[in-house]
Amino acid sequence: MNKKLILSLLLLSLSASLLAQKAKWLPLKRDGLHDPQSPAINILQQPSEALSLLPPDYTGNQVSWVDALQENYIEPRSTLFSDTQVNTLEMDIVMGNTGEMPMVMFPHTQHTEWLDCKNCHDVIFKEKAGSNPINMFAILNGEYCGRCLGAVAFPLTECNRCHSVPRNAFTGKPGVQPNGYIQSMKPN
């Protein structure tokens, strides 16, 4: 009886410590990249120190970077030089050719707050809606959206963040959305 109690307690604590391993933000000396012997270890900022203060996500850096920016948790610089033009664009694009998956809604707003037009156009994407042969194989190989998603922006396991428009609820036309934003959705 006593042994069973100890056993179950041990099992509990083991599962707890295993869970804790998925823990957020390992210290630099245990991240598998930094050399624990490096003098930088005690000087560089630890991820937890900065990232724990930002709006949470359950994947990637465990931070919702879009929220962090839009809700002013962070104020990253847009330019280094005074004569650089800062471009942003409010334009949703709906991509309808997605097989059985919900359609994709691409919001320019959130992307151009971080990136300049030239980062994507015309090298990664042609500027005309519908003219890019985007497919998941290419994306998973790091092309098109996969240039950033799965590397520095949210991982490609988050299907429904892009495939967010249910086919039966969308009453508009795929492509550039009128007035910049998607408006033609039936309540689901």
Binding site: K3, I6, L7, L10, L11, S13, L14, S17, L18, Q21, W25, L26, R30, D31, G32, L33, H34, D35, S38, P39, A40, I41, I43, L44, Q45, P47, A50, L51, G60, N61, V63, W65, I74, P76, R77, S78, T79, L80, F81, T84, V86, E113, W114, L115, D116, K118, N119, I124, L140, N141, G142, G146, R147, C148, G150, A151, V152, P155, L156, T157
Partner: protein
């Protein structure tokens, strides 16, 4: 003898569990996860006798939008696509645009960037879901 065997096996299980618990508690069994978007740059570093460079996207994007480095400074958005030399950095290009003592610390702090474990391969790290583009 036969009556003793269940006891013995449960004792063994107990010992195994205790060992696992100790190992995880001490941190020996903990997997290493680089932070999402960490880039290892080791095209030249180790050949030149320095540790590989670890570039943390998370740290920099708190302070600068992507467009600053990837548009103004000309960093290509592909790990390995930038042929960075210390000569160019000293001349104020690439990292040297900020790491010049005005915006951030100077390049005399070699060890702060060259802080990686020996033998690391260049590339993007940190995703425990996809291991970066094209590597499932």
């Amino acid at each position: 003898m036969k009556t003793k065997s269940p006891n013995r096996s449960s004792l063994l299980l107990l010992k195994i569990l205790l060992c696992l618990w100790l190992l995880t508690g001490v941190g020996l069994l903990k997997p290493a996860y680089a932070e999402y978007g960490d880039v290892v740059i080791n095209k030249r570093s180790e050949k030149e006798g320095m540790r590989p460079v670890i570039f943390p996207h998370w740290f920099h994007r708190i302070r600068f939008r992507c467009k600053v480095c990837h548009n103004e400074l000309g960093f290509k958005m592909r790990a390995g696509g930038n042929n960075i030399t210390m000569g160019e950095i000293t001349d104020g290009k690439y990292c040297g645009m900020c790491h010049n003592g005005e915006i951030s610390w100077t390049i005399e702090n070699c060890d702060l960037c060259h802080s990686g474990l020996p033998g690391l391969k260049s590339g993007v790290n940190g995703s425990n879901e996809t291991s970066g583009p094209g590597r499932w």
